[in-house]
């Protein structure tokens, strides 16, 4: 038994997050921990990795009862957790970050050469082709997650806890991660795997442990694992995918010609989205998908190009001008770009539209707005006065969506709309987007999950090196075609213009 927990209880201000939870993982085993947001997964992982102390119950490492004094203590006992949104020192070099807290030394001097060489080997093993002497900040979000895994490999962790490791990876990168997990398992590492993507769970897990409302909700052995059975553990009911309403697209609401982003100065982007249409943007990580959305919303100034919203050219620069013209962006990084985490749900919901009702803040109007959107989007918060950072990922994402829906946009841009969002909330967000399109919005979204693209989109644009390399209507959706276009290979058949 590499790591075992028995009868774990944890309460915050009298509210039980965990009640008598049992969990164990053996060497050479991948155990998937599943549950809806708020089921207690994060709390359990924090207890297992020493970030939180349990109120009751026992944690054992290799059969020995332990009380962790902190994450470093757990790490020293061979337990490494790769957080969903890791905190990193962006100015450090990658090599320094890999060895942070366990620096290689020669005498009392740092042995940078050895750390760089060792980092290079570790990164190569993860298929991350970067120079270890570059700063961490130069890595994309997805790559930073791999860096965390490199840290765990460096520490030769006996137990590796992966919390939503693929949420910011593209399918290709995710596939590589699965291979790494397989390797580690074969090498005898115990792995705790948390993911909302059930396909991954089915692909990787030897055993599935479910949590629901802070209690164990059951366990599945390898041969019992199926989509249905996992969902059963999580929600205790069947989960129905949102069914798409076929719609006839209306007038062109978003028209982009010759857009050039600073990330890809050589590439021009042309695209159109009609009212009632949901267009997905697929492509590999770093292909320039987010950059297109950022340029459209004015977060980064485009180098060239014209943007028209409902036939009106977009005047002025910056997000304020874009929002005034009827654009809205649900950004990629909820915690840093989407929300002011230290502020309340209500303050976040009103932020983009506050100035539309004059120069004074009207608390009553604000409370009404908050109550309306919390109800409308089923944001599960005890009160809109709660700090938004205390909500689960799914509820936070609903707040981001709500604050922009309150602005009544014509064109909704979304970047990874369901990253780190549980199955239930994900379904609600899909249904909402579908309804918004039906109501005449133009929706343009970037997603690294093909499953999501297929579920939502009427049309897919594939981006490679900043260019749109293909546009596929719904009847031509296929994983293979998209992968071909995303890796820069052209199709033999004629392409549909974007």
């Amino acid at each position: 038994m590499a790591l075992a927990a028995r009868g774990i209880d944890k309460a915050f201000a009298g509210v039980h997050a965990l009640r008598g939870v049992d969990f164990e993982v053996r060497a050479g085993e991948v155990v998937a921990l599943v549950g809806e947001n708020g089921a207690g997964k994060s709390t359990l992982l924090q207890i297992l990795s020493g970030s939180l102390a349990a109120d009751a119950g026992q944690v054992r490492v290799d059969g020995e009862a332990v009380t962790f004094r902190g994450p470093a203590d757990a790490m020293a006992r061979g337990i490494a957790r790769v957080a969903q949104e890791p905190q990193q020192c962006l100015q450090l070099s990658i090599a320094a970050a890999v060895f942070l807290g366990a620096e290689l030394r020669r005498g009392w001097l740092l042995d940078d050469a050895a750390m760089v060489a060792a980092s290079r080997t570790l990164l190569a093993r993860l298929g991350l082709d970067v120079d270890p002497q570059q700063p961490v900040g130069s890595l994309a979000t997805g790559q930073r997650q791999l860096l965390e895994i490199a840290r765990a490999l460096r520490a030769e962790a006996k137990v590796l806890i992966l919390d939503e490791p693929t949420s910011s990876l593209t399918d290709v990168e995710a596939e590589r991660l699965f291979a790494i997990v397989d390797d580690l398992r074969a090498a005898g590492t115990a792995i705790v795997y948390v993911s909302h993507r059930l396909g991954e769970v089915q692909r990787l897990a030897d055993r599935v442990v479910g949590l629901r409302d802070g209690r164990n909700s059951g366990e599945l052995a390898r041969d019992q694992i199926s989509h249905q059975s996992i969902v059963g553990l999580m929600v205790g009911r069947e989960f129905a995918h949102a069914t798409r309403q076929p719609r006839a697209p209306g007038e062109v609401l978003l028209s982009v010609r010759g857009l050039v982003t600073s990330a890809w100065p050589q590439a021009r982007v042309d695209l159109q989205v009609r009212a009632g249409e949901v267009v997905g943007v697929a492509g590999l990580l770093g292909a320039g998908r987010s950059e297109i959305l950022r340029a459209l919303f004015g977060v980064d100034a485009p180098l060239a190009g014209t943007i028209e919203v409902a036939g009106q050219p977009l005047h002025g620069r910056g997000p304020a001008a874009a929002a005034a013209a009827g654009l809205a962006l649900v950004p990629e990084d909820r915690q840093h770009q989407g929300l002011v985490l230290g502020h309340s749900v209500a303050d976040n919901l009103s932020l983009p539209t506050l100035h539309r009702r004059g120069w004074r803040v009207a608390p009553q109007r604000e409370r009404e707005l908050a109550a309306h959107w919390c109800r409308e989007l089923d944001v599960r918060a005890a009160s809109p006065a709660l700090r938004v950072g205390s909500l689960s990922g799914g509820n936070q994402q609903k707040v981001v969506l709500g604050k922009w829906l309150a602005a009544a946009p014509r064109v909704l841009l979304l970047d990874e709309p369901t990253r780190g969002v549980d199955v239930g909330a994900r379904g609600e967000i899909y249904a909402r987007l579908d309804a918004l399109a039906a109501a005449g919005l133009a929706v343009l979204f970037v997603s690294s999950e093909l499953e999501e693209v297929f579920a939502l989109a009427d049309r897919v644009l594939v981006v490679h090196q900043g260019r749109i390399t293909g546009a596929l209507p719904r009847d031509r959706f296929s994983e293979q075609t998209i992968m071909l276009l995303a890796t820069g290979q052209s199709l033999d058949s004629d392409e549909v213009p974007a």
């Binding site: 915050f12 201000a13 919303f297 977060v299 910056g318 997000p319 304020a320 874009a322 929002a323 005034a324 962006l329 950004p331 990084d333 840093h336 770009q337 989407g338 929300l339 002011v340 985490l341 230290g342 502020h343 309340s344 303050d347 932020l351 983009p352 506050l354 100035h355 004059g358 120069w359 004074r360 803040v361 006065a385 709660l386 700090r387 950072g389 205390s390 604050k403």
Partner: protein, 329 residues
């Protein structure tokens, strides 16, 4: 509110302790509670309180202004020059000084916003620059008002008599007005909300369409403008400014008052009421030391120790609360 409760209790304790300790049983008098002392204390609270609000404006955006003392010096040297040497009427001279100091703030803001220089660097250089310029400008001569500015000096030395020999000093009233307006701006206007959103998370504020650059600029302008206002009050009050030491270290009193009052140095957090309490404490403490110890040699040491203790207790209480009640705003 939790943070303010701590400072309010501390202030109350210090005031009561001083009143008790400074009581002279033999003569039956109490120098702390004397009308003269209280009036003087209130005036100082008013003058330095404006500086703390100035500092808070920049701190809530996550920045800092180290040049406040030197901007006070600029106002202190320029105002007498305008009034006495040039004979400019007071009604024109004071607004001119305020405009000049606001321009200094604009300059700081532009360097921070456009060139993306660190506020610490910009204002540290400002601290040196303005004092140096003023010393050269005045030739290290003491600047005074002479017989000019009789009327306008009421702003700094005037009182509203409340009876029993005590009058409410006008600078305290100016401070109360500034505090009330600032509080309204922060809590009840879109500008205030945006200012705090920017201080908490600049990225998210920008993504929400907040004009982050313009607001940051505004914060630096407000800060230097208020420092200029306080500088005018100081020089009108003492009627003498020596460029080499006028306003020296005042930025530290200003920042200490704001931080003591719960304005977080990381930005995005703070209440005007807290700044008011912090500014009060910053003035009461030296007064206490003077009266109780009979000399001011320990002044810096005691002020430093009390602020440190206050910050430590605040942090300990906050952690204790956080452990019991996670997630509450």
């Amino acid at each position: 509110m939790k943070k303010i409760l701590g400072i309010a209790v501390l202030l109350l304790v210090v005031v009561i302790a001083t009143a008790v300790l400074s009581h002279d049983a033999v003569s039956g008098t109490n120098p702390f509670l004397s009308a003269y002392n209280l009036q003087n204390l209130c005036k100082r609270i008013g003058e330095f309180g404006i500086l703390s609000i100035a500092a808070a404006f920049v701190i809530v955006t996550g920045g800092i202004d180290l040049s406040i003392g030197s901007v006070v010096c600029v106002a202190g040297c320029i105002l007498p020059w305008l009034l006495r040497d040039l004979g400019v009427p007071a009604l024109l001279a004071v607004p001119t000084v305020l405009l000049l100091t606001a321009a200094i703030g604009l300059w700081h803001g532009l360097l921070v916003v456009r060139l993306r220089l660190q506020p610490f660097v910009v204002t540290l250089c400002g601290l040196l620059l303005y004092r140096g310029l003023m010393r050269a400008f005045t030739g290290d001569q003491t600047m005074g008002l002479g017989t000019t500015g009789e009327g306008v000096r009421w702003l700094a030395t005037g009182t509203l008599p409340l009876g029993d020999g005590f009058g409410l000093p006008v600078p305290l009233l100016v401070f109360v007005v500034v505090a009330a307006l600032t509080s309204f701006l922060w809590r009840r206007t879109v500008i205030g909300r945006h200012l705090f959103a920017l201080g908490s998370n600049r990225e998210a504020a920008r993504f929400a369409g907040v004009a982050t650059d313009r607001l940051e600029l505004l914060a630096y302008v407000a800060c230097s403008l208020l420092a200029g206002l306080a500088g005018c009050l100081f020089v009108l009050d003492v009627n003498s400014a020596q460029a080499s030491n006028f306003g020296n270290f005042y930025e530290l009193y200003a920042i200490a008052g704001a931080v003591l009052g719960g304005v977080a140095l990381r930005g995005g957090e703070g209440l005007v009421l807290g700044v008011v309490l912090g500014a009060c404490l910053m003035q009461v403490l030296p007064n206490t030391i003077n009266l109780v110890a009979g000399s001011n040699q320990l002044e810096f040491a005691v002020v430093g120790a009390v602020i440190l203790a206050g910050a430590a207790v605040d942090e300990i209480v906050r952690r204790w609360l956080a452990r019991r009640r996670p997630g509450k705003a």
